[in-house]
Amino acid sequence: MARPGTAAEPLRVAIVGAGPTGYYAAEALFKNEHGVVVEVDVYDRLPTPYGLVRAGVAPDHQKIKAVTAAFDKVAANPRFRFFGGVEFGKDLTLGDLRAHYHQVLYCTGAQTDRRMGIPGEDLQGSHPATEFVAWYNGHPDYRDYGFDLSQERAAVVGVGNVAIDVARILCRTPEELATTDIAEHALEALRKSRVKEVYLLGRRGPAQAAFTNPEIKEIGELADADVIVRPEEVELDPLSRAALDKSQDRATRKKVEILQGYALRKPAGKSRRLIVRFLVSPVELTGDAAGRVVAMRLVRNELYATATGALQPRATTLFEALPVGLVFRSVGYRGVPLPGVPFNESWGVILNEKGRVLDPDTKQPIVGEYTAGWIKRGPSGVIGTNKPDAAETVACMLEDLAQGAVLQPAHPAAAVAEALVRQRTPNCLSYADWLRLNALEVSRGRAQGRPRVKFTRVEEMLAALGR
């Protein structure tokens, strides 16, 4: 049998997940240097593409969302098709994909949050930060979630960029939010918010915090919230000081300087306060009789150096109580196993080597199955980090193709795959559908001086498209 990859018989690839990695992988496949002709079908559970760029990146960070222009260029390739609203494992099974494609690539990201593992974590009013993020970004699955914004004090556990996004959105004024593409329902709820104090809690010191400098600068420039930092918590301990002197890491040095600058500020009496704390970990959430969170017990940490010199937190015996009525945990993310796809429980990723999915018993690659992005390496890096990651997997895919190690689908014709998808999910969206929906969202926004007003229910999207 002739090897696929020619104009007459293109290499047919199914990509599961239309987030940044899916696009980067499609781009790398199209741009391959071996002259292999590739057709890509990208599937997403949601009708809309872009993954976390749409549903994760904060609405007041439109510049970061602008990366979608590059994604649309990839999608303009005539050999790119998008099927939105098609769920892998439900609407289409692995068996279906194996019968229609030479290669299958999983780019489903890290869809769940890590738990803190402390008592009281599931009290009412304690939420994963990802749910709040998905809610304010108009993710249809979270449209009807509610958060008790009548509380005056909230804590965000974690000091990564997601934690800081959540804290910042809670501290923005309705006027600031009204110029973003935050979901309408979230904007309405946040207009009525009575949150006055937002705590951002880091278990290590300022030099180890994961948030990046633009984000930390931004919270010092909020219209109606003072940023508060305790001087003693941003004073570097000897271990951090030594590590920083050795590494000469300018970004970290700058980060510490900005935070120390905040510690010197006098509060300007703004209506909200964003309080950044370091070297503390929640050990318990306490609730009232109704099962609502009312406070958090914190333990003070100290740092110690591991054998490699990395600094990790260790609990001391000093405790404090922090009264809060709303808690968001943002202590890391984890991949969700896909039906029929080997999973590596240790790292919360698909079992893989450089993106080749491995058989759990033989530890040998499974022909035709690959992975890229967060579900391959775990949640790390910025959006662009997924580009070299996807390129590594695509290099493996092309190498295997050259060896003839691809699936032999019974129905390799693009039309047959499409017919199956449309039969299973008659309401699925094409890229043309998405571009129409996008134009509608943007025009709804224009009237209000906003980048867009999102459709946040699947039925709404379908209705807008005349379905």
Binding site: A69, T306, G378
Partner: protein
């Protein structure tokens, strides 16, 4: 980024050998798996040493009969080990400073993988490339907005 992110895409945990095995067997394993070091484990998963190409070369310069010797005879015993949540930058510094090319990664006394200096450099390169790409995209967005 921490070194767990490197282990996540390495499939096999780590290639290991027992202390009583011979250098001949070690060489066969190094060649078969195309790696530069083996972790020496005792009683299942507890690492007791590391055997690198360099250990073998060093021994070979003065010992013609090394093939039959045991791994325990020439392995390096004082091994610095990493933990999954050690950060990339610190680990890179330590490995360069102490001239370590292979770092066994241990979690709760259990060997969970190995990272090489090559793995670390690649992860750092990808991280910088990704940041650069994201920054470029944002600058381009600024241009369009103007």
């Amino acid at each position: 980024m921490d070194i767990a992110g490197i282990l996540a895409t390495k499939g096999e945990k780590a290639h290991t050998i027992r202390p009583e095995q011979t250098i001949r067997e070690a060489l066969a394993l190094l060649a078969r798996h195309n790696v530069g070091a083996l972790i020496v484990v005792e009683g299942g998963e507890r690492p007791v040493g590391i055997l690198s190409e360099r250990d073998i070369v060093r021994e070979a310069t003065h010992n013609e009969t090394l093939f039959g010797r045991t791994v325990a005879d020439i392995m390096t015993r004082d091994v610095i080990t990493g933990a999954p949540h050690d950060d990339l930058l610190t680990v890179a510094h330590t490995m360069i400073e102490k001239r370590i090319r292979h770092l066994p990664v241990v979690d709760k006394d259990r060997l969970v993988g190995i990272v090489s200096i090559g793995d670390i450099l690649k992860a750092q390169r990808d991280q910088y490339q990704g940041e650069l790409d994201t920054l470029q995209t944002q600058f381009l967005a600024d241009d369009r907005a103007r």
